[in-house]
């Protein structure tokens, strides 16, 4: 409870022009503590968010000159923008390198074995329809399959349409992850790339139930639209708060 109170205090501080670095410093302390507590089993996201918050602390949004004139510095925003494009790009490349996702295995696992979750339930509905329509052996198999029953189901094999059902979304997502950040480099495709990434961020966030990072990702992606640099900071503060509450309270 004290942790949540500190996070809310950090949020309030982060919304104050003169104190927002202190707010982000508190967020940074939380994330550093979490990494220390869970290392080496820290999930990648915590490292990523820590780097993002550190950038916000290191590069203040506003600086006041000797004459009292306030300047807006977009350094942090630019770094975060490059960072989110790198996240998307390498996320796609690593999926290609490892093969697990690209082969449709991730979607197959969610469909057949994941007991709950939005994605699993949605995938199972479509899979059940396909299995019944094409009368595959899975039409008579109760899903999800429990682990102890795996060996009894070793005879089951996917039909072509079932393979396509798992592989098509995987390929589409990987292509988007690799292509959109590259497309951003071309000025004429920039708006399209950012808009598509916003859509992908929401879609992938739902699929993976990663609502916390989606907030951060969306906050950064929205900063690509003109004259939004200053708004990025409070948006990121809200995103960071959401992230830590999900991470600390929601996941125990």
């Amino acid at each position: 409870m004290a942790g949540v109170a500190a996070l809310f205090a950090a949020l309030i501080l982060a919304s104050k022009p003169r104190l927002y670095r202190l707010g982000f410093l508190i967020f940074l302390g939380f994330s550093a503590h979490h990494i220390f507590r869970t290392f080496p089993y820290t999930i990648n996201h915590m490292f990523l968010e820590t780097v993002f918050i550190a950038v916000l602390v290191l590069f203040p949004a506003r600086e006041t000159t000797d004459s009292g004139e306030a300047l807006v510095d977009g350094t942090a925003t630019r770094i975060l923008q490059i960072g989110i494009l790198a996240v998307w790009f390498f996320s796609g490349v690593q999926k290609i390198v490892q093969g697990y996702y690209l082969s449709g295995e991730m979607f197959a696992f969610q469909t057949l074995f994941q007991p709950d979750g939005d994605l699993a339930l949605a995938l199972r509905k479509g899979f059940a329809f396909l299995s019944r329509y094409f009368e595959t052996p899975f039409a008579r198999t109760a899903l999800p399959i429990a682990v102890p029953e795996l060996f009894q189901n070793a005879h089951l094999a996917f039909s072509g349409v079932e393979k396509a059902y798992f592989m098509a979304p995987a390929w589409l997502i990987v292509i988007a992850e690799v292509f959109l950040p590259v497309a951003f480099l071309r000025r004429s495709l920039r708006n399209f790339a950012v808009t598509a990434l916003v859509g992908c961020q929401m879609l992938v966030g739902w699929m993976a139930s990663e609502y916390d990072f989606s907030l951060t990702g969306l906050a950064i992606l929205f900063s690509f639209f003109p004259d939004r640099c200053r708004q990025t900071y409070p948006a990121l503060a809200i995103a960071a708060l959401g992230y830590f509450i999900f991470e600390s309270v929601g996941r125990g």
Binding site: I43, T75, M106, A157, K163
Partner: protein, 201 residues
């Protein structure tokens, strides 16, 4: 200074993910860990199809006799979510010969050892794989310290789905004997001997 620092951070945002990807691929640690960008590129670390299969061979040395093992479902308890493992871990123990009393022996294990087993099960696909196997072998070896000629064969399983045949498992086979852990190669459900063995269970 500020400019240099910003360039360094941007460079790190490109160099580390690429390095992490290569290291993760080469050394087999989870792409979910250590600050890479490759979430979902490999199964989640708590993936239920990642587990340990322990084969205990109490005969005099040699290779495991695949026909004589039987399953001892004390840790699974008929479910992928056991009382001890409050998450999906699939730690299973198999025993040979059937007359051995592994369930009784392990049920007498201390809370600390059960906690350690839990940690071991969770740490599969994380880093420090060999050390985890050694830790598990040491625990089981202590349990059977009164039985001479113990020889533990441990298979670190990765159960996977295969779009060609649904179920596909592969794993590293370790042999623990006389405080020494040796990796004996990889085994797979595509091995000639293993499908028959699994079907006989």
């Amino acid at each position: 200074m500020k400019k240099t620092l910003s360039y360094l951070i941007v460079a790190a945002l490109f160099i580390w993910p690429a390095t992490h990807m290569a290291l993760s691929k080469k050394y087999g640690f989870s792409s979910w860990r250590l600050g890479g960008f490759g979430m979902y590129a490999t199964p989640h670390p708590d993936h239920p199809f990642t587990g340990i299969l322990v084969i205990l061979d109490r005969t005099e040395g040699g290779e495991p006799s695949w026909d004589s093992f039987r399953r001892v479902p004390i840790l699974l308890g008929g479910s992928e979510r056991s009382d001890f493992f409050q998450y999906y871990s699939s730690l299973e123990i198999w025993l040979s010969p059937p007359s051995a009393s592994l369930p009784e022996a392990l049920s007498l294990g201390s809370v600390e050892e059960l906690r350690r087993l839990r940690s071991l099960a969770k740490s599969i696909r994380h880093i420090r794989r060999t050390e985890d196997v050694r830790g598990l072998a040491e625990i089981l070896d202590r349990r059977f310290s009164d039985s001479p000629n113990n020889s533990l064969f441990i298979i670190l399983w990765t159960r996977r789905l295969d779009l060609k045949g649904l179920l596909y498992t592969e794993g590293d086979l370790y042999h623990y004997r006389n405080d020494s852990l040796t990796k004996r190669g990889r085994v797979s459900s595509r091995d000639q001997r293993l499908p028959d063995f699994l079907r006989s269970l």
